[in-house]
Each structure stands twice: as C-alpha cells, then as structure tokens.
Amino acid sequence: MGQGDVGALGLVTSLLLVGVAIVVSLTQQLRLEKSLIWSTVRAFVQLIVMGFVLAWLLEPGRSLTYSWLWVAGMVVFAAWTVRGRAPEIPGLFSIALVALAVATVVTLGVIFGLRVFPMEARAIVPLGGMMIGNSLGGTVVAARRVADELADKRPEVEARLALGQSSREAGRPYVRSAIRTALTPRIESTKAVGLVFLPGAMTGLILAGVDPVDAVLVQAAIMYLILGTVATTSVVIGLGSLRLLFTPDHRLRRLARRTD
C-alpha cells in the first residue's frame, strides 16, 4: 500500500459504498440495483482487460501503430454506444464516428504536436481514452435530448413547420436546449476545477514528482482540450441529429419511443 498497490481487500472495501447504493435502491424500490451491479462488474472486467492490453502495448519496442489502432477501436465503440443510446435517430452512427474521430485526431494532434506529452503508447491510449470518454457522455446526452425534445414538442415543431419555417429553424430552440443540457456538466466541472476537485492528470503528475506549476499547466491544456472536444462533438451530434430527424422536404420523422 502507498505505492499504488490496492490489493484485494482495498478493492472490496472500495465496493462498500456501491453496496450501500444497492441496498438503498432495493429498499426504496429505485430499480437501479441491476444497473449498479452490471456497471460495477463490467467496469472491473473492462479495466482488467485494459490493464493487460496496456501492459502489452507498453512493452519495449512495440510499434505505436497498435496504440493508434486501440484508439481507433475506442472511437468505433464510442460511436456505436451513441447509436445504441438513441436508436430512433437513423444514421447516427456515421455522424458520431466522424465527429469523435475528428475530435480525437485534432486534440491528440495538439497534445503531441505541442509536446505536452511525448508521443508514446503510455500517453496515446490514456489521453485518447480521456478525450473519447468525456465526449461520449456529452454526445449521448445531446443525441437523446434532441430526439426527446422533438418527440415531446412535436405539436410545437409542426406548428413552426406549418408557418413555413425550415426544419433547421423549427428545430433550433429544441436543439439549443439539448446541447445546453449536454454541455452543462462539463462547463460546471471546468468552473469547479481546483476549488472542488483536483483533476486526475494533475494529481498523477504531482504524485510522480513533477513540479506542481508544470502539472497545473499540463492539466489546464488537457482540460481546455476536453472542454473543446466535448463542446464540438456535442454540437456536431446535436445539429446532425436535427438533420437526421427531419426529411429533406422539412417534415419531422415519426419517432419511436425508447422503452428506457
């Protein structure tokens, strides 16, 4: 312990609060217990796999191509997840794939182009994951909120269309609201940085012995890139969903209701 070695006991102890949450869910009939158990088990398995993959990728002499392939795989998986969370939007996978891929390439390009971190496997995979993971939350919320808003406000949207507004004009108020909802958590956490919590990259660098001011500068750069990435991908997904949910002749498609 004290050297980043958690051990089985530490791992089990860390699950105590999850256990409390499961008990609360059961007693209050929140029906979240299955999701909590599933996400806990799934996260554990995924992290174990990730650990082995990272160990393999970090072996001396391993080509960086494998690291980039891993990042590409994460992009595809994230796009697939976005599609799965908003299945009523036709063709969402392609837009999510392009948005996430471009955002990842640009942000990693900035990080490695400016030599914030050296371009090596131990930086490519975690930083790629950080960018894609943060974007995933925003894009899922943006896509779902656009679909929900347009379905809930269908009478208003059709009233706007009936006045001769284009689909873009008619959908704009609802997309604006959806994108705002998607971005608010990221904006709020950016505002609270340093006051409420110390972000992971900075903490890691300080623990590794890097000068705190240098660590802060690195963290600031990463934080801005994450904010920019989440904002860009959420806006692209929000506007893209709007386009996909209308026909080219400005009619709102019929939207099937999600059951979740």
Binding site: A159, L161, L163, R251
Partner: protein
C-alpha cells in the same frame, strides 16, 4: 371555380397503418369545405397532405392543379396555413409568437392580425400561460394569418374548446372567408359544426371517401348519419 385541392388515387401509409387508401376526391376553391369523418377515418391525414406535413405513399395531390410534390414546401406552407387541433403556443409573449411567423412585422401589422383573430393589442404582452383555450387557439390563428395565407386548413380546431369559444372561433373564420376571401378547409366530426359551416362536404370512412358534394342532400345526411353510429358527435 377550379379545384383548390385534388386527390388522385392517394394512399398514405405510416407505421404499417394505411390512413388513406386510393382516395380520389376534390375540394373546390372559393368556398368553405368541410372534411368529416369519425375518429381514425383519415380526415386529419388528408388535411396534412395539403401542406405537405405528410406526403402520399402513392398517388398525386394537386393544389390549384399543380402537383404538390413539385412545389417548394416552405413556400407552400406560407400560402396554405394550418391551425391544429390543440393550440401550440410557443414560449414567450403573443408578440414573440407572431414574430416567429413573420420576423419583420411592425406594430400595425401585429394589431391588424390580432383584430382579424378578434383579439385586442392588449394580448401582445401576454404569454401562453395567461391564455384560455379559446384565446390560445385565436393566437395560433393570428400567427397563421400574419403570413397572409390563401388557404386556411383547420384541423378540428374547436375540439378542446367549450361551446361558446367554439362558436366564436367558427364565426371568426367564416368572417375571414367572406370578408378576406380566404379559402377554408375545416376538419371536424361535429355534426352541428358541419351543418353550420359546410358549403362543400367530403365525408371519409376508414380511409375512403363515402360522400362528396352538396352538404344539404339526403345522401350527405345519410353518410353523416353513419358517422353517429361510429361515435361521431
């Protein structure tokens, strides 16, 4: 007078349901036409075809002899305005609502259009939450009128209103038709309303036209009587 709308073997399917099945019918110009039918007869679907909120799965819809599919839908919808069953007042004030329809409208134009809808300028600063059902529907009518449509499509606009508000809205629309020459297509299943409004009648049943023409004939009455049995009021 030529046809305002003509439907030539029009079929409309959605979600595996056939709302209209090879409908061939016409609605003449220069009058107040009523499309009647029981719930689920396809009358609202037929109306939505007229401003391209729906497009037919088969057949052709013509507006003043022109195939609707060849017209720009945005221009068409300004020419063919629509008032829906439930008033959808947008967030903001009545003024904001009118400006959504016509962003460059001046105060005089706003006042004129409110007067046509029989609302005063005092309504300009009121929000949707402050309006009764009848007032909200009139705001929606005013919002449609500010685009100066040639045709008004009224999709059961009084179904959620009490009788007095319903009769008042009918009177307003009849005045618009008579005094301003606006063609009106009114969808309803209310027999009293049909009797008061219809200059031309099209009756639908299960996606098929069962009568079209003069609303005062015995055949028209028979087709409407069958509606009562289907639950029409």
């Amino acid at each position: 007078m030529g046809d305002l709308f003509a439907f030539e073997r029009v079929t409309l399917d959605f979600n595996g349901v056939t709302a209209l099945q090879e409908v061939t019918a016409r609605l003449p110009g220069g009058g107040l036409s009523v499309v009647a039918g029981a719930s689920g007869s396809g009358k609202s679907s037929l109306l939505r075809l007229c401003n391209r909120l729906e497009v037919p799965s088969g057949g052709v819809v013509r507006f003043r002899a022109t195939d609707l599919s060849t017209l720009d839908p945005l221009q068409l919808r300004k020419r063919v305005g629509m008032v829906f069953q439930r008033p959808a007042v947008f967030p903001g004030t009545v003024r904001d609502n009118l400006l959504v329809a016509k962003g460059d409208a001046g105060d005089t134009e706003l006042a004129d259009v409110l007067e046509q809808a029989e609302l005063g300028t005092a309504f300009l600063s009121r929000t949707g939450d402050d309006l009764s059902g009848g007032e909200a529907q009139r705001v929606c009518l005013a919002r449609t009128l500010i685009c100066h449509p040639e045709v008004l499509l009224m999709d059961e606009p009084t179904s959620s209103l009490h009788r007095a508000a319903s009769l008042a809205l009918e009177k307003t629309v009849v005045s618009l038709h008579r005094d301003h020459g606006v063609d009106v297509v009114w969808v309803t299943h209310d027999l009293g309303q049909i009797e008061r409004l219809a200059e031309y009648l099209l009756v639908l049943s299960s996606g098929h036209p069962v009568y079209e023409g003069d609303p005062s004939t015995d055949e028209a009455r028979r087709s409407l009587a069958s509606l009562t049995g289907d639950g029409a009021t």
